[in-house]
């Protein structure tokens, strides 16, 4: 078994898990189970990042999505009554809207893949091989704070706005 083989096996395993988790997330009836499968899916995605050598993204994926967002999800789910959700109609007649949206998303994704084929779209200072080097945390930071400083700051301002918005909205209610 060469390392390439191992990473290939790992990729297919994680990819399969991610897809399976995603499907189960939307099909199971119990909301908590749904959340568990979503976590599985997110973890599998993190695993894919790992096979790509993106260790930092792997850790961030787990900390943010699994450790942060999903915990809040489950927190809220536990507070509401599950029996109601169990008896709700799972699929309604808005399928065509969803289908349309899915189509749009798929075409976007396809376009992105086609556009980025061959070449890496994110330009990392040390070149593409850098993504696989063990020093990628440093390179990630440099890329983020030097080359992509403006988008980074814009994103952080956006998050700040969202944060303040959330605080204002909850304040008004009470």
């Amino acid at each position: 078994m060469t390392p390439t083989q191992i990473s290939q096996i790992a990729f297919y395993f994680f990819a399969g898990l991610a897809v399976l988790g995603a499907i189960l997330t939307v099909t199971v009836r119990n909301v908590v189970h749904s959340a568990i499968f979503l976590i599985t899916s997110l973890l599998a995605t993190a695993g894919i990042f790992l096979t790509l050598g993106a260790q930092f993204v792997f850790a961030v994926q787990i900390i943010l999505y699994v450790g942060g967002i999903m915990v809040l999800f489950i927190f809220v789910i536990m507070l509401v009554n599950l029996d109601v959700a169990l008896h709700q109609l799972q699929f309604n007649r808005q399928g065509w809207v969803a289908g349309l949206l899915a189509l749009v998303l798929a075409s976007q994704l396809g376009f992105a893949i086609w556009f980025a084929r061959g070449e890496g779209s994110l330009d990392i200072p040390a070149g593409r091989t850098g993504a696989l080097s063990p020093q990628n945390v440093e390179q990630f930071g440099l890329a983020l704070f030097e080359k992509y400083a403006l988008p980074f700051e814009i994103a952080s301002v956006l998050l700040l706005v969202a944060l303040i918005g959330a605080v204002v909205m909850t304040k008004k209610r009470v």
Partner: protein
């Protein structure tokens, strides 16, 4: 076949270390429990476990056996699959975290570039075991415990993470090996960032659900919190996860703030005689064991005592190994592990000391402490350490830079305490009912 051999050759040591950790950790956790009971007994003017083995030395094994053969009860309306799976999540997360910890320069499963981040990420998943276990039990006490746990974890993980950022800032790397190396020769980061260490100490107590922050399992309020409906082996697994987590946070603190496997005063040649401490320490314990051996009431107890003495002798011999010129190279590994574990033990001891001294916080007080004090202070702490680093780069000497930044952070801390005190000064029940209703 040759491919397999190649694989084994590459990954032999990590595999062995992983097996050692999986095998030894439950035992270690058991003995941490024994130590806790003994420390507690000592502080409370009693003896603690004395029956199983001399001085209760075999108590953990007896406890483990008892838990293994206990009836396994699953509540009637529990979500069985989740109920079954939840403790496993907890313990898996706790154990995974060990894979990146460096217990000495040699003993480490995987040297990761993102070491610390990996540990934080993986151990943050342990919370799911608690939440899902509490939810699946279908009991109100469990649910309340799980809810408390969630809110507590989210709040204190932020503070702990920011406290770690301070240390990482000083080290300039996330790799556990390099963090310790950054402290070699220089000073341990606890002396550069005492407030960061303090913040991590408090936050780590909260994260491991230990008193005075043990609200998710507060026995006098929620019976046992999320573990209320668990019994037997599943309960033992939760317990293992809890103590494993304690060792993890202690290891993180040791690595980042207490110089990891480095010997105290490692850079002062005059104090090199401290190198003799590890073997002498074990020798002393062995001597005491043999001294107590004839005083045991039962022959079998004497036997066990002698066995422990022999074990300590063996360890003393292992610690003395580096003094043999042929094995001098093993010094860093063997003594490193000793110092590392000693520091971890001291850190855990401080946990116990705190637990037996303080009453428990109330939930809203815990949240207030987290959000009004810990998180702001940890942000300021990161800021202060950043300033420290810049000042050092501007060729300031150590002391003025240290006093300036730490003093500034301390002032902020005092200000925060003053603010909090002003709020507490209003008596009466928490919150106003009429307001919440409208």
């Amino acid at each position: 076949m040759s491919a397999l051999l190649e694989f084994l050759k590459t990954y032999m040591w990590p595999l062995i270390f992983a097996l050692v950790i999986v095998g030894v950790l439950p035992l270690l956790a058991g003995y941490v429990v024994l130590m806790e009971r003994k420390v507690m007994a000592d502080m409370q003017a009693r003896l603690g476990p004395m029956r199983v083995g001399p001085h209760g030395l075999l108590q953990p094994i007896a406890d483990a056996l008892k838990l293994l053969i206990k009836e396994d009860i699953i509540p009637e309306n529990a979500d069985k699959l989740v109920f079954w799976f939840a403790p496993v999540i907890s313990v898996t997360a706790a154990m995974l975290a060990y894979s990146a910890l460096a217990i000495g320069p040699f003993f480490q499963i995987a040297e990761l570039n993102i070491g610390l981040l990996f540990i934080v990420a993986v151990s943050s998943m342990g919370i799911f075991g608690i939440i899902l276990g509490g939810w699946a039990s279908n009991s109100h006490y469990s649910l309340l415990g799980a809810l408390r746990s969630t809110a507590q974890m989210i709040s204190y993980e932020t503070a702990a993470g920011l406290a770690l950022v301070g240390g990482v800032l000083l080290a300039g790397t996330l790799s556990t090996q390099k963090i310790v190396q950054a402290q070699q020769g220089g000073t341990w980061f606890v002396f550069v960032a005492p407030i960061g260490f303090f913040l991590y100490l408090v936050a780590s107590i909260a994260e491991t659900n230990r008193a005075p922050f043990d609200l998710p399992e507060a026995e006098s309020e929620l019976v046992a919190g999320y573990m209320t409906e668990y019994s037997g082996f599943r309960w033992a697994v939760y317990f293992l996860a809890e103590y494993a987590n304690m060792i993890v946070v202690a290891s993180i603190a040791t690595t980042l703030f207490l110089g990891g496997w480095l010997r105290p005063f490692g850079s002062i040649a005059a104090l090199d005689f401290l190198d003799f401490f590890p073997p002498l320490c074990f020798l002393g314990v062995a001597g005491y064991c043999f001294y107590r051996t004839p005083k045991q009431p039962e022959p079998i107890q004497s036997g066990v005592m002698a066995l422990f003495g022999g074990l300590c002798l063996l360890l003393a011999a292992a610690m003395a190994l580096p003094f043999v010129p042929a094995f001098a190279a093993s010094k860093a590994g063997v003594h490193g592990a000793f110092w590392f574990l000693l520091k971890v033990s001291l850190y855990i001891y401080s946990f116990m000391w705190i637990r037996f001294t303080f009453p428990r916080f109330r939930f809203d007080q815990l949240m207030k402490l987290g959000w009004y004090f810990m998180i702001p202070l940890s942000i300021v702490n990161v800021l202060g350490l950043g300033v420290y680093k810049v000042l050092r780069q501007l060729q300031w000497s150590r002391w003025p830079a240290f006093l300036l930044t730490t003093g500034g952070t301390l002032l902020v801390a005092i200000w925060l305490v003053w603010l909090a005190q002003r709020k507490v000064a209003v008596p009466g029940p928490v919150g106003d009912m009429t307001e919440a209703e409208g």
